[in-house]
């Protein structure tokens, strides 16, 4: 019983998930389910978050102090754990986004394509 993978599925680049989560939380606190969906939707379903791996990543971020969490009621009135960006998290996001851009530009130059 395999999972039906769409051909345009992109393997989430290792390490980028943290950045994507932080980026998602810029908009405000959210619980795991929302985060997964926001990433999928904003990437127009190109980035298919493996939902299971989202939670270890969230907890890792929390351990590092980049997000904080609390239990609250979700939009459809269920109890859910909400994650919120902290000040160090915000700084981390800026740093990581900068590094990401550098890498993408570097790769682009190697591939000989301009990134517009």
């Amino acid at each position: 019983m395999g999972r039906a993978k769409k051909p345009e599925d992109v393997e989430m680049l290792k390490g980028t998930l943290d950045m994507l989560i932080l980026r998602t939380l810029v908009m405000g606190p959210a619980h795991g389910h929302t985060i997964a969906h926001v990433i999928e939707h904003t990437s127009e379903n190109v980035l298919d978050v493996e939902q299971g791996s989202l939670y270890p990543a969230l907890h890792r971020l929390e351990d590092r102090g980049w997000v904080s969490s609390y239990w609250g009621a979700s939009e459809n009135n269920r109890k859910a754990k909400f994650y919120e960006l902290t000040a160090p998290g915000r700084r981390q996001l800026v740093a990581e986004a900068g590094r990401w851009r550098q890498i993408v530009e570097a790769i682009g130059r190697v591939m000989g394509e301009s990134l517009d």
Binding site: H33, Q51, Y55, P56, R60, D63, R78, A80
Partner: protein
């Protein structure tokens, strides 16, 4: 952070489960909203999420610390294994708890008494100075006032020096109320500054107060101030009475000050107290001298200076009673010298017990490891590392040790309190406390014994092939033989320690028995004693003193229950009582140097009353009072033998100075008495107590039944005669002997108890090893019996094998004892360290116990049914 995660990972896992549930619920909501059936929505949601279990596992692993996890697993594993063999665990834990408890308790006392510095300023610069008696018999002798004066001038490497002496005194309030007898010390004005102590309140003596003409002043110890005066700060400037003389209280010592011992309650100025004619003399040895070294100066340097000074004094006063050498030791040594040997003996004994208990546990673990050999081999072949196996073994013994510690440390606390209670006479025992450092020591012992007991069996994993035992077929009879060898070695060492303990205990016990069986030279059963002294204010003439003694004797004789009553300045077994030099007019003057004897004053009926035999001549007579009593003297047998050899001393004279120099005619010779149980009887002179110059005495009353019941009537009688007369040391003669042999009794009994424990452990060990060996060799024994071996031959074979560790250990222990008993040489009375009877008894006892321990399994083996034994495989 990691540690925190490690400890709360269970909680975090539970939270993750809730989180995942919430996520999936949201997902299902979404699918339902899209119109999927409930079942399909569930399916899709789970499909989308992936395996919740895998997420949880990933998270769990992330939160795990390998090391702690392994440790925790080992720990649980060990606890479970031990739980499965509760008998083994219980024995091991109790034995170890005893070792840890006893050792920690003794360490607590050793630390407070021997190791902690005295509560003075720069205590390492404080030393105590002594004279060496001219005959070198007393290495640390009292110091004469004249000698102290000379040292003070001639020792440049000593910064400051002070002198003190101790005595008993009648203390009462200003009007003579609340009289009590207390120990007091006279100290020079510079003694306290030498020690570096400041008064708690008030001040110490000034130099002018410390002189015969000075004002009479006292300094109270903190304990007396608290007990008698309720810590009243207004005590300063108040007047109290010592022997009916008024003294002004000028200061109180701090609570930490209990020098030279806690019995001293009051300090006076020594030069104000002592006879001004006696103080400057170099041949009257009464005092102790404390000195503070200049910074950077060694004790040896100071000693050489005072030694030279002593020799100079000796040259200018060449009497046989002037010391010709000096001695010094640290002040702490001076205080604790008597306690040291005893405490170190006990510490060694308890360390022995701890070691033995570790060896025992190690031996038990070895046997367990042997029975688990197959399991261990399988684990090794499946990739278990040797180090991990070792770690497991150490963890197991640590679990035992920690449990033992949990039991042993409270035991140590109890033991310490018992020790304090049982030995109030021990120096500095008032400073003994059970504190953090002691706890740390106890924990150290726990870890040490745990690791020690675990490493020994554990090391067998580190060397040699592990897989061998898998190939060992059950019929090869060498199986586990290396384990057995290890156990035998451990056992031999254990037996060795036991033998050392047994010989030490035996010697101490024999010495104590010798002490107790000593004859004081007088009747000691049903004799009650107490002391008192007559203040020279009320009893200012010889007639008054003599009359009091006479009246007291008459009344004592008529007291119901009193069989005989006697007075003596010093009773047998109750101290030295002072000595005096003398000459014999009938002997050539030139040959008489250094003649000296102890002196006592006694009443006419004394010798008969307490059973000292009159050997020749007569006792004092009732008429020998006052002037009439100042011409006769009675001597002891040893004096007669030493100074009147081959002649009849009766009718001869002795020239002695009591108040003034005079000739005394020898009217009787009496049997020797001992002044101290551990000292030889010395030449003694007796004077009539009714002759007048004597102002203190001990009462001895003999009864037909328990003399202790006479204590109250006698005290009431004294109070009727003079209500302001306090008594001291109300004890029966037996009690006072108990008191003076308390240390010998205590040490020998404790060491004996430890030795018996050790012997029991050794017996258990021997029994265990042989039982184990026999289990290992069941097949072989079965074959032997099947082939016709005599059962007695089997028993002999096994006994020989089982006893080997015992006799090897015995030889080791006896050799070890020869060296160790040298350390207790000065604790022994009338017993040689190499007493062969003790060594032989110990050897016989050990072999007997060992043979008994081995005989049981050997006998059981000889009853084996060969068929069954062979089938067992």
């Amino acid at each position: 952070m990691n540690l925190k995660r490690f400890f709360i990972k269970r909680k975090r896992d539970a939270e993750l489960v809730r989180e995942i549930e919430a996520h999936i619920a949201h997902e299902i909501d979404e699918y339902l909203a899209r119109g999927l059936s409930s079942e399909e929505a569930h399916r899709q949601a789970y499909l989308k999420f992936g395996s919740p279990r895998r997420v949880r596992e990933a998270e769990w692993e992330f939160n795990t610390l390998r090391f702690f996890d392994d440790l925790w697993r080992d720990f649980r594993y060990s606890a479970r294994t031990l739980w499965r063999t509760p008998g083994f665990a219980l024995v091991a834990v109790i034995v170890m708890a005893l070792g840890i408890g006893a050792n920690t308790a003794i360490f607590t006392v050793v630390r407070s008494v021997l190791l902690k510095p005295l509560p003075f300023k720069d205590p390492d610069r404080l030393i105590q100075l002594y004279e060496k008696s001219a005959d070198n018999r007393h290495l640390y002798n009292y110091v004469a006032g004249g000698m102290y004066a000379a040292w003070k001038k001639q020792a440049p490497s000593i910064e400051q020096m002070g002198i003190y002496g101790t005595r008993s005194v009648n203390l009462s309030d200003n009007g003579g109320e609340l009289p009590e007898r207390v120990r007091y010390a006279g100290g020079s004005w510079d003694l306290f500054s030498t020690l570096g102590v400041a008064p708690e309140i008030g001040r110490f003596f000034t130099a002018s107060e410390d002189s015969p003409q000075g004002a009479a002043t006292v300094v109270l110890t903190h304990s007396l101030w608290e007990r008698r005066y309720g810590s009243d700060r207004n005590i300063l400037g108040k007047t109290i009475q010592l022997n009916s003389h008024p003294y002004t209280v000028i200061g109180v010592l701090p609570p930490s000050f209990s020098y030279p011992d806690p019995h001293i309650q009051i300090w006076t100025a020594i030069f104000h107290e002592e006879d001004p004619h006696q103080m400057p003399r170099a041949d009257v040895h009464n005092y102790f001298v404390v000195a503070r070294l200049r910074p950077g100066v060694s004790m040896a340097q100071a000693l050489s200076e005072i030694d030279t000074s002593t020799k100079r004094v000796h040259m200018s006063h060449p009497t046989p009673f002037t010391a010709n050498g000096a001695n010094a030791r640290t002040l702490l040594d001076g205080v604790v010298s008597e306690a040291r040997t005893q405490l170190y003996i006990l510490l060694s004994a308890t360390t022995c017990i701890l070691l033995i208990s570790c060896l025992n546990v190690a031996s038990l673990l070895v046997s367990r490891a042997a029975s688990r050999r197959k399991e261990i081999s399988i684990r090794a072949s499946l990739g278990g590392s040797r180090l991990q196996l070792l770690r497991e073994q150490v963890t197991e013994s640590l679990v035992l040790a920690i449990t033992a510690g949990a039991l042993g440390l409270p035991l140590a606390w109890l033991g310490t309190h018992w020790l304090i209670h049982a030995r109030p006479d021990l120096a500095r025992v008032d400073t003994v406390h059970f504190d953090g450092a002691v706890l740390l020591f106890g924990l150290g012992m726990v870890v040490l014994s745990g690791v020690l007991a675990g490493l020994v069996p554990g090391f067998s994993f580190l060397r040699g092939p592990l897989l061998e035992s898998l190939q060992e077929s059950s019929r090869t009879n060498s199986s586990g033989s290396s384990m057995a060898r290890l156990r035998k070695i451990l056992l031999a060492v254990e037996v060795g320690f036991t033998v050392v303990l047994l010989t030490t205990a035996g010697l101490l016990l024999k010495s104590y028995q010798k002490l107790r069986s000593l004859d004081l030279g007088c009747e000691t059963r049903n004799v009650l004693t107490m002391g008192f002294l007559l203040p020279d204010v009320q009893y200012d003439t010889p007639a008054k003193k003599s009359a009091f003694f006479s009246e007291l004797l008459d009344r004592l004789h008529t007291l119901p229950g009193v069989k005989t009553a006697a007075l003596a300045t010093t009773l047998p077994g109750q101290g030295y009582g002072g000595d005096q030099s003398f000459t014999i007019p009938e002997h050539p003057a030139g040959a008489q140097v250094g003649l000296n004897a102890m002196m006592r004053a006694v009443d006419p009926g004394y010798f008969r009353a307490i059973g000292i035999p009159l050997l020749s001549g007569r006792a004092f007579e009732d008429r020998e009072r006052l002037q009439a009593g100042q011409s006769s003297i009675i001597i002891s047998q040893s004096l007669a033998r030493q100074y009147f050899p081959n002649e009849n001393p009766l009718g001869k004279h002795m020239r002695v100075t009591i108040q003034k120099e005079a000739n005394y005619e020898i009217v009787g010779v009496v049997g020797d008495t001992l002044w101290s149980l551990t000292e030889p009887a010395g030449p003694t002179m007796y004077f009539p107590i009714l002759s007048g110059p004597w102002w203190w005495s001990s009462i001895a009353v003999r009864s037909d039944q328990d003399a202790a019941t006479l204590a109250l009537p006698v005290q009431k009688l004294l109070a009727k005669l003079d209500p302001n007369l306090p008594v001291s040391d109300v004890l029966t003669m037996d009690q006072s002997i108990d008191k003076s042999t308390l240390d010998a009794n205590f040490t020998s009994m404790l060491v004996l108890a430890f030795a018996i424990i050790a012997l029991l452990l050794a017996a258990v060990g021997l029994y265990g090893v042989l039982s184990y060996l026999i289990t290992q060799r069941t097949g072989e024994i079965g074959i032997r019996i099947a082939l016709g071996a005599q059962r007695s031959a089997v028993v002999r074979l096994l006994l020989f094998d089982g006893l080997r560790p015992a006799w090897i250990g015995l030889v080791l222990g006896l050799v070890g004892s020869v060296f160790t008993v040298q350390f207790i040489r000065n604790m022994l009375y009338g017993t040689q360290p190499l007493d062969w009877t003790i060594f032989a008894t110990v050897a016989a006892l050990l072999l007997l116990v060992a043979a008994t321990a081995c005989a049981i399994p050997a006998w059981r083996a000889s009853r084996l049914d060969p068929v069954q034994a062979l089938r067992m495989e």
